[in-house]
Symmetry: C3
Subunit: 346 residues, 3 copies
C-alpha cells in the first residue's frame, strides 16, 4: 500500500502530527522535488532554504525547527531515521513469493525453511541450511554446508563459497562473493606456493552488504563481520579480517588480511588499510586515506592532499620533493642568523 | 568479411586513398607489429619513429604527415577516429542470431521486439520490455519492468534490478550491476536503519559501460547517465548521481551519492568524488585524485603526490608532518633578519 | 584425509622431525590459537613471544630457531613455504567429481578432456577446448573458441569472453571477467567512437586470479599474463597490458592500457599505474601509490602521504599549498642574510 493519509503515517511511524490528518500522501520526495502529495524531511539545517521554498504537502522535522515551516508536519527528534522508516512504507515492489523455481538445482539434503523463495537458475550445494523466510534471487550459487539465518535476502547472482555462515536478516546485493580463497601464497625462491584457505566467513545478524563486494574466507580461523555492519559496493575484505558491530564501510574500501576494525567505526569511500593492524572503536577515516599503522584512539584520521588545478599541483609536487633540502636550508639560515645576532651591534 | 582491398576500405571509411587500391588488407595492427598485409595508423606524432620503421602495408594518417611515409596511405584529419571506424570492419565475431534459448526463463508478459537474441540461462522478470535487435547474452538477469531500447547489448551475466531504463544502443560488459540499492542508512543512535531505495537508474542512448561496474538506483528520484557517457570497468556510481552527456569515466573511479558531473568531462582511473558536489562541464581530473569540493570552472585538476623511491618518500613523509613547524621557523627567521637589517651598519 | 601423525607429515612435507613421530595432528592453527592437536609455524621472528606462549602440539620452524621451542618440531629453511604445502594436506573439501551437470549448455563441438567437472548452469560456446582435469563450477560462461589448459579451475560464475587462452593449472575465483572489451574510444569532436577490441587474453601456466577481477582483451594484439603471476580480488587490468612471470598483484590495483610490468614485481593493494609505461623486473610498489612514469631500476617505490588526525591533516594540507611561497620566502631570506654577512662587523 502506498496511498496514505498523514494521520495514519504519523501513527505508523510513532511520531507527532501537526496539521491535517486527512491529507493524502502518495510518496516521499526531497524538499526540492516534493509536491503537495509528498512527504519530505529536514534532517540538516543546511537545507532550511530548500524548506522555505518547498511545495511539500508535509515535512518530517525536529520540533525545534517547527518555526521554519508553516505547513503540515510530522515531528521527530531524529527526522532522518523517521524518514528511513517511512521509506519502507512507500516501497511498492511486491515481496518475492515463497516457492522454488523449477530451474533451480538444489542438492537433495538441503534443509529449506518455511516461506523461502528460491529464484530461477539458483544452485545450492549439499548440506546447506536455508532458514525461514529467506529470499534467494535468480542465479545465486550457494556452496556446500552454507548456513543462512532467517530472512536472509540474496539479490541475483550472489556467490557464497562452501561453509559461509550468515546471521538473521543479512542482505547481500548482486555480484558479491563471500568465502573466496584469500590471497595467501608463500614465496619459494622460484615463485609462489599457494596456501589452502581453510577458514570460513562468519557474518552476524542484520549485516548489509553491497554489490560486487568480496569477502574472503579465513586462511586459518574465520573472517568475521559482527552484527549490524553495513558495507557498500566494490569493497574488498581480505582473509581473517574482523569487523566490529555497527561499523560502516563505504564503497571501494580495501582491508588487508588479519586487520581488526573496532565497533561503530566509519570508513569513507576508497580508504585502504594494510594488514595485521588494529583500529579502535569509534574511529572515522576520511575518503581515500591510507592507514598504515594501528589506531588506538577514537577520532577522525586522514591522509592525502587537497586537489588543485593541475598546473599548480605540478609545482607543489616538485616542491614536495625539495622538502628535505628546504629543511636543510632553513637549518643553515638559522645558524647564520644566530651568528649574525652574536656579532650585531647592540 | 575481413578480407579487404585498400580501395574498398578507403571508400567504406570515407577517406582519401594514396597508393594501390588493389592492395589486400587482412587486418589492423600497430605500427610496430604491422606487416605488408596490415593497415596501421599514426594518430600521435610521438610515434613518427615507429612509422619510419613500420612494415605496414598501408597507414592511416593526417594529410600533413604524408611526407613522413612513402608507402600506401589513407588520409584523414582524425586518423584515430578513422581507425576506430575501421576496427569494426575487421571484427569477425559472428553476430548473435535472433532467437531465445530454451533454458532462458522469461515471464509471460515480457515484450520482446524483432531480431532479439536471448542467450542461455537468462532470466527476465514480468513487465520488462526488450526493444528490437537487443542482444542479451548468457546468464543475464533482468528485473521486473526494465525497459531496454533498441540494439542494447548485454554481455554475459549482467544484472539489471527492476525498473532500470536503458536507451538505444547501450552496451554493458559482464558482471556489471545496475539498479542495486544505494548505500542509504540513518543512524538511530544504536545502529543503522536502512532506507528503502525507491528511485531508478535511467541511462541515455549510446552509453557504454564496462565490466563489474555498479550503478545504484536513486533513493528518491533517479540516478541518471545522459547520452554518450562512457564508463570503464570496476566503477562505482552511487545513488542519485547525475552524469552529463559524453563524459568519460575510467576504471576504478568512485562517485559518491547525489554528485552531479557535467558534460564532456574526463575522470581518469581511480579518481574519487565525495557526495553532493557539482562538477562543471569540461572538467578533466587526473588519475587517483580525490575531489572534495565542487568545481565550477573547466580545466584540469589533480591531487596526490609524485612517486619516489620508498626511502626518499619516507623522508618526505616525515618532513610533510613538520611543515607547520617549518613555517613557524620561517616566520621567526624573517622577524630576526628584519631586526638585524634595522641595526646593521649602513 | 585430515588425521595425520607427525612423522607421516614430516615425510610428506620432506622436512626433518624433532620429537614424537606418533603425535596425532588434526589441523593447522596460528601459534596463538593452536592446541596440542595442531601443527603451527614460526615464519617471522616477530612472533617469538607468541611461540613461547603457544600450546601447539608441534611447530614448523627454522633449525636456527629450534632453541626457542622445546616441544615437537618440524624443521625447514622456509617454514612458511612448508606451511603452504602442509595446508593442502588439511584441505578436506572433496574434489569436484568428473562429469557434466544436465543443466549445463554446451555447444556441440566443444572438446572436453578426461576427468573434467562441469557444474550446473554452465554455458560453453562453440569451438571451446577444455583440457583434462578441468573444474568448471556452477554458472560459469565460457565464450566461443576459448582454450583451457589441463587442470584449470574456475570457481562459480567466472566469465571468459570468446578466444581467451588459459595455461595449465590456472585458477580463477568467482565473478572475474576475462576478455571483456577494453576501454577504447576515439574522440570524434562530437562524442566517442568505440574501437572494436580485436585481441585476446592469454594467460600462462599456474596463474592465480582472485574474485571480481577484470582483465580486458587486447585492442590489437593480446593482453598477456606470463606464468606464475598471482592476482588478488577487484583488480583491473586494461587492454594490452603485459605482466611478467611470478609478479604478484594485490587487491584493488588498476593497471592502465599497454603498460608492461616486469617479472617478480610486487604491486601492493590499491596501486594505480598509468598507461604506456614500463616497470622493470623486481620492482616493489607500496600500497595505494600512483605510478605515472616508467621505472627502470628494481627497488621499492611509493607515493602518497602518511595519515594523521584529521585536524592536523587539514593544517598540513593548507601548508602544502603554501610550499611555493615558502620556497620564495626562503630564497629572499638567504639573499638578505648573505647581504647582512657582507656588511657585518668582523
Amino acid at each position: 500500500m502506498t496511498d496514505w493519509r498523514l494521520g495514519a503515517l504519523a501513527e505508523s511511524l510513532g511520531v507527532e502530527l501537526r496539521g491535517d490528518p486527512e491529507r493524502p500522501i502518495v510518496g516521499l520526495q526531497s524538499l526540492r522535488d516534493a509536491g503537495p502529495e509528498h512527504l519530505s524531511f529536514l534532517a540538516n539545517t543546511r537545507y532550511t532554504e530548500a524548506l522555505r521554498q518547498s511545495c511539500a504537502g508535509a515535512v518530517l522535522l525536529r520540533p525545534s525547527d517547527l518555526a521554519l515551516w508553516s505547513g503540515d508536519a510530522l515531528l521527530s527528534d531524529n527526522p532522518y531515521a523517521a524518514y528511513a522508516r517511512a521509506s519502507h512504507l512507500f516501497d511498492c515492489r511486491p515481496p518475492r513469493p515463497p516457492g522454488c523455481h523449477a530451474s533451480a538445482v538444489i542438492a537433495a539434503d538441503v534443509v529449506i525453511g518455511a516461506g523461502v523463495h528460491i529464484g530461477a537458475q539458483v544452485v545450492i550445494g549439499a548440506g546447506a541450511v536455508i532458514a525461514d523466510a529467506c529470499v534467494i534471487e535468480a542465479g545465486c550459487v550457494i556452496g556446500e554446508n552454507c548456513h543462512l539465518g532467517p530472512a536472509v535476502h540474496l539479490a541475483p547472482r550472489v556467490v557464497l563459497y562452501p561453509e559461509v555462515r550468515l546471521g538473521a536478516r543479512v542482505r547481500i546485493q548482486s555480484g558479491s562473493v563471500l568465502g573466496g580463497d584469500g590471497f595467501g601464497f608463500a614465496h619459494t625462491g622460484r615463485g609462489w606456493q599457494r596456501i589452502a584457505q581453510l577458514g570460513r566467513v562468519v557474518v552476524g545478524d542484520d549485516v548489509d552488504i553491497g554489490a560486487n563486494t568480496c569477502i574472503d574466507r579465513g586462511a586459518l580461523g574465520d573472517t568475521v563481520l559482527e552484527e549490524g555492519v553495513i558495507i557498500d559496493n566494490q569493497v574488498q575484505i581480505a582473509h581473517n579480517v574482523h569487523i566490529g558491530a555497527h561499523t560502516a564501510i563505504a564503497a571501494c574500501v580495501g582491508i588487508s588480511g588479519s586487520t581488526r576494525i573496532g565497533r561503530h567505526c566509519v570508513l569513507a569511500g576508497g580508504v585502504g588499510l594494510v594488514g595485521h593492524i588494529e583500529i579502535a572503536d569509534g574511529v572515522h577515516i576520511t575518503g581515500m586515506s591510507m592507514i598504515t599503522k594501528s589506531i588506538s584512539a577514537p577520532g577522525s584520521y586522514s591522509s592525502g592532499t587537497a586537489f588543485e588545478p593541475s598546473r599548480q599541483w605540478k609545482k607543489t609536487a616538485v616542491r614536495l620533493r625539495q622538502l628535505e633540502s628546504m629543511a636543510e636550508r632553513l637549518r643553515r639560515l638559522e645558524a647564520q642568523v644566530s651568528e649574525l645576532q652574536t656579532t650585531a651591534p647592540k
